[in-house]
């Protein structure tokens, strides 16, 4: 009898324990990446890598506040409590570091860790230089030229010129544990047993298949300790695979469900979440050659595209029309003169003014597009619609589809290579997370290929002036005003065909609660629960 009682008690105890563990839940995510993003710190696979690996295991000094969906995600203190540019020397930035933070391996976070992480990216002859991680992130830290430890909790960064864009660079550099690296002394091994300060720590790494993380119970910010206890990341590049995995309960969350599947998913009780974020899907035009050398033709093209139709009929409202580089509610939007709506009549008129008519002088262009690719949405279907729209007003566009990586390689080389000489545009989607990504690299005359990626090339002294001015303006509100003015100028010049802004759709099982989709490429997974 007593034995039975003990047995019952034990069973009840075990059940309640496992029950408690179960209540915490496991979140399994199907990513679009074809592989597990690099876990050694400076991650790969673009922003998806930052989203699920870089910013979950590690943290930057300046982080994004991803807790709200009703405003553009702002930068907030991360591992740094505060930072400021030195008034006497505007090329030097002083960062006060957070105290009492420890890495997953138990070692303390301090100035040495920041110096170590910086050197792993920037100091090519350091023993702890990580060539791969550096290749992934160093171009995002282009202005940073040096670092100095002031004391255990203060570091000073140096830049090549006075620039207010420094916080927008620092946010991409995550801090890795020097103690852990010293233990393994090899970045590959480090990547298999990584150690950061983030809300999740790696427990299991199955190359190319899955990455398992558990909640960091001692995370420094008690408000942001994860509510789930396990996070599983699965690479699933095929949309059908992700969909099948979600529907058969193999995962709880998938990135980018195929737009067609959204009504069915909703019907079957899945949640579809989306929000605007800094993404644009455009055609970058070649400006030194007909037909796009003519501003009227560029405007005509922008009036010819039926953006609402694309979003509604093809993408099931997972995007919004783009009438500029940034979307309307964004602080940099301003008040552009031209509001590009679907107006074929106006487009035809503009084209006529430009001296192009269907017969003797047709407008013809060759556009390089991709067959798939990260952030490219449904490139083939969308481009065929655009091609049809343009044809209707009298612009003949020949689409040349190539593999995503081929497109990137050819784009990087610019239009003036033998391969690309015959082209008039490329279709690549971009982010505009910060001023450099959004404007500087494309629209400054100093960014012309091969220095950076102003491929068009877009040469406009006024734009140069505004970009430089924004970079020198340390007050964010004022900086935003300048960038809004710049945006107005660029929208009027129409160096791109603005098409849509993606809404970053994801599908979640009904069990997933508490997720807020921020206006960002990244996500906060600490408030999520899985029943």
């Amino acid at each position: 009898m007593r034995r039975l009682a003990i047995l019952t008690l034990a069973t009840v105890l075990t059940l309640s324990l496992t029950g408690a563990a179960f209540a915490q839940g496991t979140l399994r995510i199907g990513m679009t990446a074809s592989d597990i993003p690099y876990t050694g710190g400076q991650t790969d696979n673009g922003f998806e890598g930052f989203r699920f690996v870089g910013y979950q295991i590690y943290e930057p000094l300046i982080a994004w506040d991803l807790s709200r969906g009703d405003r553009l995600a702002p930068l907030v203190p991360g591992l740094a409590e505060s930072w400021e540019v030195r008034k006497d020397q505007p090329t030097k930035w002083v960062f006060k570091l957070r105290k009492g933070v420890t890495f997953h391996d138990g070692s303390p976070f301090n100035a040495d860790a920041v110096v170590f992480s910086y050197e792993s990216i920037k100091k090519k002859d350091a023993p702890h230089f990580d060539p791969y991680g550096s290749g992934q992130v160093s171009f995002r830290l282009a202005s940073l030229t040096g670092i100095a430890k002031i004391d255990d909790h203060t570091v000073e960064f140096e830049t090549n010129k006075p620039t207010s864009f420094v916080p927008y660079q620092i946010c991409y550099m995550v801090i890795v544990s020097p103690a852990q690296w010293q233990k393994v002394k090899d970045w590959r091994k480090f990547a298999e047993q990584p150690s950061g300060t983030g809300p999740y720590r790696v427990t299991r790494f199955v190359p190319r298949e899955r990455l398992e993380l558990e909640a960091n119970k001692t995370y420094w910010d008690a408000k942001r300790r994860p509510k789930i206890d396990k996070l599983v990341l699965l690479p699933m590049p095929e949309p059908t695979t992700r969909l099948a995995a979600l529907r058969s309960g193999q995962v709880d969350w998938i990135e980018v469900p195929p737009p067609d599947s959204i009504p069915q998913l909703k019907g079957a009780g899945f949640q579809i979440v989306m929000n605007s974020y800094p993404h644009n899907w455009t055609h970058t035009l070649r400006l030194d050659k007909e037909p796009w050398s003519n501003k009227l033709v560029r405007k005509a093209a922008n009036y010819a595209v039926d953006r609402v139709g694309i979003c509604k009929n093809l993408l099931n409202d997972t995007c919004i029309p783009a009438t500029g580089i940034v979307y309307k509610s964004h602080p940099w939007f301003g008040k552009p003169k031209e509001v590009y709506e679907y107006n074929p009549t106006k487009a035809k008129e503009l084209l006529r003014q430009a001296g192009f008519d269907g017969g003797k002088h047709p407008a013809k262009a060759v556009h390089l597009i991709s067959t798939s690719g990260s952030g490219q949405m449904l490139p083939l279907a969308m481009n065929e619609l655009i091609q049809k729209n343009l044809k209707e007003v009298g612009i003949d566009v020949d689409l040349q589809p190539v593999e995503w990586n081929t497109l990137l390689t050819r784009w990087r080389a610019g239009f003036k290579t033998p391969d690309n000489e015959g082209l008039n545009a490329w279709n690549i989607s971009w982010n505009f997370l910060e001023p450099w990504s959004g404007f500087g690299r494309f629209f400054h005359s100093k960014s012309v290929v091969p220095v950076s990626v102003n491929t068009m090339p877009y040469i406009n002294p006024e734009a140069d002036k505004l970009i430089d001015e924004a970079e020198r303006t340390f007050d964010i509100a004022r900086q935003n005003e300048i960038l809004a003015k710049l945006h107005e100028v660029i929208v009027d010049d129409a160096p791109w065909i603005f098409v849509v802004h993606d809404l970053n759709p994801r599908a979640l099982s009904g069990k997933v609660k508490g997720f807020v989709q921020p206006q960002s490429w990244f996500v906060d997974l600490t408030a999520v629960t899985v029943r």
Binding site: Y132, L234, A245
Partner: protein
């Protein structure tokens, strides 16, 4: 016999060496940047060049080949560009998964194929023979990747009985079998067709030999006739089984792609789209080696069963 085996083994060496050259040439002479795929879209040409140098892709190709071959001989296939893991580990893990799938689909296709083929031969012209012929022709004609999609539509989408993708991770043997079911069926279709055909025709040939016909006419025990047929058809059946096993191991790329089964085919597909050259080279070379050795093994086994072959 031993001399023959030795000679065949020696002949395999230049074949493998040639295969290594072909693998290397195939992967390197192709257009495209070896590291472009793993670099962020925004990185500049200069950053790409620097990374290329770090990986040794700037050296002349013959030098790269010799360096690679030298390492391969020592069992080092280099490191993946995408994961920086030694390729040998990636290949080992995925080969294990592919082997499991190849074995299970071989069990299905060999068992059903041999059974159906023999039954059809003994019931020539009757309903069962017709069924076997139909299975055979469908098997050899069906695009197995399409069959895989149909299986997913029926068993995962409509009925929601079986998982649609991946290998099980945890959850016990039952879960593992559930994950394997659909890819196994898809992969076994073509071998099933081929084996049914070959077994039927091999058995028929022997059944139609005059003395067997005479034996059957005299009412000799069906069992002895059966044994006679099986032993005599064995060499031919062995050959086809060997080839089909090779097909199921090396030819599973499409099925693994449909089901995201983490085997060599999936790895190959991934490496192609990531342009992960060390992985690409490693997978192809290992599979080719496996295939050459498999053929060799089948040949030797056949010689053992039927020594006349060695005399050719």
């Amino acid at each position: 016999m031993w001399a023959y085996a030795g000679r065949r083994l020696l002949l395999a060496v230049p074949t493998l060496l040639g295969a290594s050259i072909i693998v290397f040439a195939m992967v390197h002479l192709a257009p495209g940047d070896p590291i472009a795929a793993v670099m962020p879209a925004e990185s500049s040409q200069a950053e790409i060049e620097a990374t290329k140098r770090a990986y040794g892709f700037d050296k002349p190709l013959p030098v790269q080949y010799l360096v690679w071959l030298g390492r391969v001989v020592r069992g080092d296939l280099g490191r993946s560009i995408a994961t920086r893991r030694p390729v040998i580990l990636d290949v080992r893990d995925s080969l294990a998964n592919s082997l499991v799938l190849a074995l299970s689909s071989s069990a299905v296709s060999f068992g059903l194929g041999i059974g159906l083929g023999l039954l059809a031969a003994f019931r020539q012209g009757r309903a069962l023979d017709k069924v076997a012929s139909a299975v055979a022709i469908v098997g050899v004609s069906v695009p197995h990747y399409w069959a895989g999609i149909i299986l997913i539509i029926v068993f995962s989408v409509q009925l929601n009985w079986l998982p649609a993708m991946g290998a099980a991770d945890g959850g016990g043997p039952l879960e593992y079998l559930r994950h394997m079911a659909l890819p196994t069926v898809a992969l076994s279709l073509i071998p099933l067709g081929v084996i049914t055909r070959v077994v039927r025709s091999a058995a028929l040939d022997i059944l139609n030999q005059e003395f067997v016909l005479a034996l059957r006419a005299r009412g000799l025990a069906a069992r002895r006739v059966f044994t006679h047929v099986v032993t005599n058809a064995a060499p031919q059946i062995f050959t086809v089984l060997g080839l089909q096993f090779g097909f199921q191991l090396g030819g599973s790329v499409l099925v693994e792609a449909v089901f995201s089964w983490p085997g060599t085919g999936y790895l190959l597909n991934l490496a192609i789209f990531q342009r992960d050259i060390p992985v690409l080279q490693g997978v192809i070379l290992v599979l080719a080696t496996f295939f050459v050795l498999l053929n060799l093994g089948v040949d030797l086994l056949q010689t053992l069963v039927d020594p006349r072959i060695a005399r050719h």
